[in-house]
Every structure is written in C-alpha cells, then in structure tokens.
C-alpha cells in the first residue's frame, strides 16, 4: 500500500500550509498537494464597519505586507466615497508603499530563502535557517539586519507604525512630510540602493550562477502571468496602473482594475481553504494538469518582471535587460522569482528616491475633503506576493455593505501546487526520499514567497 508524506508546517513562508505527497506502492508520486490551512473571513467581518476605518483593519490580513492592504483598501474607499486624493496625499501613499517593498525583498531573500542557498538545500534543518546564516557569514548577516532595520525604521519614524500602518487615509495621508525627514529618508534610501545593488551582485555570483541547473529544473512549470503596468507606456508599476494578463506564449491583454471580474475567477477545491484565482477570460476553465494546465497564471515578482515592457528606473532597467537576455520573456523557471525579487529591490529604492525628489512631496495639502456615501470602489496595488484587489460597496451611511478581496498570495496557490507536484515527481523515485529532497520540494513553494 502507498503512503502519504505529511510535510507540515511548510516553513520559512509567511502563512500556514501543508504539503502532502501521495506515494504509490512502488514509492513514486501519485499526487501532491499544497493546502492552505487557515481561514479568517476578513471579507465578511468588515461588513457594517465605517469604510474609512477599514484600511486600518484589513492591514491585519498580512503582517509582512500590511502597507499594501492599507493602500489598496484606501484606494477602494476613495472609490466608494468618490474622492480623488490630493496629489501629495497620493504620492505619500505610494512612497510609503514602495519603501515597504524594500524591506520585504531584503527580508525574503536573506531571512527566508537564503539558508537554502548559503547552507545548501541538503544541510540539516537545525542549521538551515537564518541563525545558521548568521553563524556562517556573520559580517554579511549583521549588514543585512542593519539594512532591513534602516528601511523599516525610516517608515516607522515618519508614519508612526511600519507594521499595521494607519497613516494613509481616505482622501490621502494623515500628515505632511517635513523637509528634515525627507532629507533623512534620501540619505537612508541611497544607502539602501547601494546595498540593493550589492545584493543583486552577490546573488548573481553566489546563487544564480551556482544553482543554474537547479533553477532550470526545480518546480518549473509553464503558465501565464498577471501584473500591473503604467497606463501610458507599459512600464513596471506597483502602486497604480492598469492590469496586464499575459498568456504563456507572451501575448497579453490590458484591463482597468474596475473590470477585474470580467477577467479573473476564483476556483475552490475541497482540500485547502485558499481560493485559487484563474484567468476566466481565457475561456478554458481551470486545471492544474502539469502537461496541459488551464486558466493558470502566476503573480508576484517574476510575473511583474515578465509583463512589464521596461523598468521605469535606470539601474533596475539595466538589471532587467541582463535578466531578459539570459532567460527571455516570459521567463518560466520558478526559482527565477528570487532573481526578479532583487530587480524589484533596485526599482523600489530608485522609485523611493524619485518620489522623495518630486517637488510636491513636502506640500501640506495631504488630504482631500471627504463625505461618506454609497458607492463602489476597486483598489488594486501590487503586494510583494502579487496583485492585490480590494473591492468594496458602501451603503448611504458610508459603511461597508459588501466586500470582495483577492489577496496577492492566492494567485499562486494553483501554480504552487503544480510546482510542488512537478518537484516531488522529479525528485522522489522508487520510495527514495530524505529531508534534503523534501526540502527541495518546499523550495519550490518558498520561491513564491507565500
């Protein structure tokens, strides 16, 4: 009789998940699943709340990316109340959200993903972690901790809370940016940009070149991609733009966020709480079949890097050109998510500098006049883990009547299941498996940074 390997908890990821690998009598993989184990029901318990309060409730969906929930929620409430934020309010929201991306990339690459590459995928679990990295490379690790803290505190000092923010508000922002703080942020961001460029170099030499064979094989699947691009020129964007849905062959359609229901659907399987978004507009249904997937696209770093026509900042564009000449467009190898993540790190630093240098950034007109009312608003931003959609309808009192959320991570639940199955089937043969092999299966999940 076959057996089930129950890899739980999936570790060094942000949420609660389990991988179950079903082996047949011969010890080969019959099937493999990655299931999300938690359900909290945010869509329902924000009903009845005054809409202006919701951006400071839904940030608790994710403690790693609370800024993105905060900004997309605010954009949705702007829509409900039919208000356009002041130009400075709008830019301050983007500034803080882009800054939050900086820390997230550093966190994921060094704290969560790096142990697999620095210590090796087969290292014992007791050392294959950030503490092991600190012991193996103390100077680098101390620098990493410093840099992440620098980025995090830059947000914390100005906006009061880096985790579970409150400073973006319907109509704009709660306070203007004083010139002295702008100066301090410029200096810190320059330091972070230098560190980002160092990180990309470090990773190219010590990870991507060294693990090229693994990158070419582990968890590799072929899918479409979803991201956000500039409305005018198709450049990479993470705070505002149009949505771009690309097919596996590289052809794409662009659409406005308000119309997302025409393009995206959510499929439900009985074995995991996470809903699985898919490309409804492709009219081919939903299937996770490895040979012939249907409706499956991916989101998050690799997707954004694939769908954009170019990066809107110079050093990130240089990195993108090098990436595309090596891996093409769209690049499909799952471990390239890590590479794409570091290109985004460069962009986030450069974009922060751009925003800080925008002439109106210290203007004191930060919040537009707002009246609660009935309406509907769809707010979309790019969270680290993918396109984040908040869609609210309010009643005449400006309280939430209905809400629909598609959260970044969920776009990749289907693809992660495919990558897990691909990796498990390729690595486990004739009943032979060990903790190193099973960790490689987890690496196929970790690349997506769920």
């Amino acid at each position: 009789m076959g057996k089930v390997l129950n890899i739980q908890p999936v570790s060094r990821i942000e949420g609660h998940a389990r991988i179950s690998v079903h082996l047949n009598d011969a010890g080969n993989v019959d099937d493999a699943y990655m299931s999300l184990m938690s359900l909290r029901g945010f869509e329902k318990f924000i009903e009845g709340r005054p809409a202006e309060e919701v951006p400071r409730i839904v940030n608790r969906i994710c403690g790693i990316c609370p800024w993105m929930h905060h900004t997309s929620s605010n954009k949705a409430v702007d829509g409900c109340f039919d208000v356009t934020p002041t130009p400075t309010g709008h830019k301050l929201r983007e500034l803080l959200q882009v800054m939050a991306h900086i820390n997230d990339k550093i966190l994921h690459f060094f704290f969560l993903a790096a142990p697999d590459f620095v210590l090796g995928p087969d290292a014992d679990y007791s050392v294959r972690n950030v503490i092991g990295v600190v012991k193996a490379a103390p100077e680098l690790a101390t620098q990493v901790v410093k840099m992440r803290q620098l980025g995090q505190m830059m947000i914390d000092r100005f906006a009061g809370k880096a985790i579970h923010p409150i400073a973006a508000v319907v109509g704009g922002f709660s306070k203007p940016l004083p010139e002295a703080e702008r100066q301090a942020m410029l200096k810190d961001t320059q330091t972070l940009l230098d560190f980002g460029l160092f990180t990309l170099d470090f990773a190219k030499n010590n990870v991507f070149n060294k693990y090229l064979d693994v990158i070419g094989e582990l968890g590799v699947i072929k899918t479409g991609f979803l991201g956000t691009v500039d409305r005018a020129d198709g450049s990479f964007r993470i705070y505002d733009g149009k949505q771009r849905l690309m097919k596996p062959d590289g052809t794409y359609v662009d659409f406005e966020g308000d119309d997302y229901l025409d393009y995206l659907g959510e499929h439900v399987e009985p074995w995991g709480y996470g809903k699985m978004p898919y490309a409804k507009s492709w009219d081919e249904g939903f299937s996770l079949d490895l040979e012939n997937p249907k409706g499956i696209y991916r989101a998050n770093t690799l997707a954004r890097i694939n769908v954009c026509d170019q990066m809107a900042t110079p050093k990130a564009q240089e990195a993108l050109e090098e990436f595309r000449s090596a891996f093409g467009r769209p690049a499909q190898a799952t471990l390239l998510y890590h590479y794409a993540r570091l290109i985004e790190l460069i962009y986030a630093c450069e974009r922060t500098l751009e925003l800080l240098n925008w002439e109106g950034i210290t203007d004191t007109d930060v919040r537009a006049k707002v009246e609660p009312k009935a309406g509907r608003g769809v707010g979309i931003v790019e969270a680290p883990r993918g396109t984040l959609i908040h869609d609210y309808t309010t009643d005449e009192n400006g309280c939430i009547e209905k809400a629909n959320l598609i959260v970044g991570t969920t776009h990749n639940i289907g693809p992660m299941n495919m990558s897990v199955k691909q990796a498990a089937s390729a690595l486990i043969k004739d009943g032979n498996y060990d903790q190193g092999i099973l960790n490689k299966v987890e690496m196929a999940v970790r690349a997506y940074d769920p």
């Binding site: 609660h16 329902k44 410093k146 995090q152 579970h164 959510e266």
Partner: protein, 314 residues
Amino acid sequence: MGVKTALEWLSSCSGCEIAILNIGEALVPILTEHLDIVHAPVIMDHKYFGQCGDEGEHLQIPEAVVGIVTGGVSNEEHIEVLEEMRKKCQVLIALGSCATQGGIPALMNGQDSEASFDAVYQTPSTDPGATRPDQGVPELLDRTYALDEKVKIDLQLPGCPPNPAHIAEVIISLLENRDPVLPTKSVCDSCPTRREGKGEVSKVKRYIENAEFDPDKPVSDMRCLLEQGFMCMGPVTAAGCAKYGAPSCIEARVPCRGCFGSVRPKGNQMLDMMNALASNGIDFTTVVDRRSIQRFSGAHGNLRPKKSAVKEEV
C-alpha cells in the same frame, strides 16, 4: 548553549514575528547566543511529523524552556498546537493582541461565523456552486479564542503589533530571572498632546478629516484628539505602543483604536469608552458602529453575534 525556545503562530498575520525582527541589531546576539531556537515555523524547518513527514499521527514540538505563541485560537489545529506548546514549554508567553484578547480576527465573533465562512466562498469572483473546503483542513471552532481561554498562560504581552522593545525586555528578563518591566498605564497617560479640558464637543466625528496640528511643531503642540472631537481610545487602552515619545497612532496624527486592549485586566473597552465619552459630555450614540470599539478584544465573550430582534445598533 542558549535557553531552548519554541515559537508558534496560530490565527495570525505574522506581524508579531516582524515585530520580533524589529528588535534590530540587538536581536543578533539574542538569536545566536542567548536563545536556542528549537522550533519556529517562520524561520526554521522543524516539522510536526518527523523531518520526512512519515512519523506518527500526533504532532510533536520539542521540549523548551520558553514558548512564545502569537495569534488566537480559531480551529482544531490551533488547539492541538497550543496544547502541545503548553505541554512542552515551562514558560508560555502569549505575544500580541490576537493571543491575549483575540485581535482583529475575533471581529468574526460578532456575527454568525458559520454563515460568514460559507459566504467567503460565494463572492462575485468565486465560481458559482463552490462550497467551503472540508477535506483535510482543520475544522473551524464556534469562535476565536484568546490563548488563556484554552490553556494557562504565564505572561501576556499585547499589542498589534507588540512593541519590539518590550519583546526584548521580556526575553532578557527571563534570562536574568526577574520580572519584566512593562507599562501599566493608559495610552492617554503616555500621550504628550495638549489638553485644555472639556470643550464644546458634544458629538463624535468620524475620521474623515485630518486632525488640526502644525506639522512643523512636535506632537506635544497638538491638541488632544478627543478634545478635537475624534473618538480616540487612548483613555481605555493599555499603554505600550510609544516608540519615539508619543503613542504610535498619535505620532501619525491619527486617533487610537485600542490595539493594546483594555488598561484593566479583563476590562471592557467598549463600556469603558462609553463611560469616558459620557463623562466628558459627549453623546456616545453618535459613534457609528459601536461594536468595532471591541475590534481588538473580541475574545473572552466580549463580541457575540447580534440577536436579530435587538435593533439598538445604528
């Protein structure tokens, strides 16, 4: 070798774990010298059922001196993990407001959770006919519980997120075998804003306009937000969020929403807030959605589904 420590997260968002990281450089010696982490899903790969997932039916966590648990309890797996942590750890710490009083996910306690969880799978983007997953996923409990409703907790450290300085203080006090020094007062007691006494305010304003303040002047120059007519929950909320002098939300010039929970142990922030408003001559019926005053402390029976016959809610 450091003190054996295990970390777990239940119905949570990982914000508490990021707060631990925000201890900053001081965290490096804590992690590498003072503590010996034996289990922590967020950063290390220890597994419940053996490293190959083929050992036993009951989940296993190694023995530890200190256990830190974040998140509330909302499904069967959370209970199993929490009981295992209690069994294996000598000192069990509830970290963050979800663990200490339910936190935001316990807002679900204020409604019919069965119907609501079903409705999550009936949104306009979800395929028609979909139903709530029920195969191999942990069954949901009737409501979200704080940890101390299920097991004995030795130390409670609230906050959404908790203050990194206080997390470090708790860890260091344990290493030094002394009681931690933590704030005991209210957010108001730790707030530097200017108070001029009861004013002409009789109604509570929604937070749809910014507070009045001079951005070039420090927080201590701004008038108290309650006196400006906003519902600021400072009077009824435990202090602890201040990192740069003023409470965190006040630093952002935004009113407090009570994320550290009640000042008094087992206190009720909603009743306390109603009293605070009334004693200042403010009509508390002008608060839209009074139940959300309990948004961080819905466990311990503080939030219950509305009875449909009662129509007191505005």
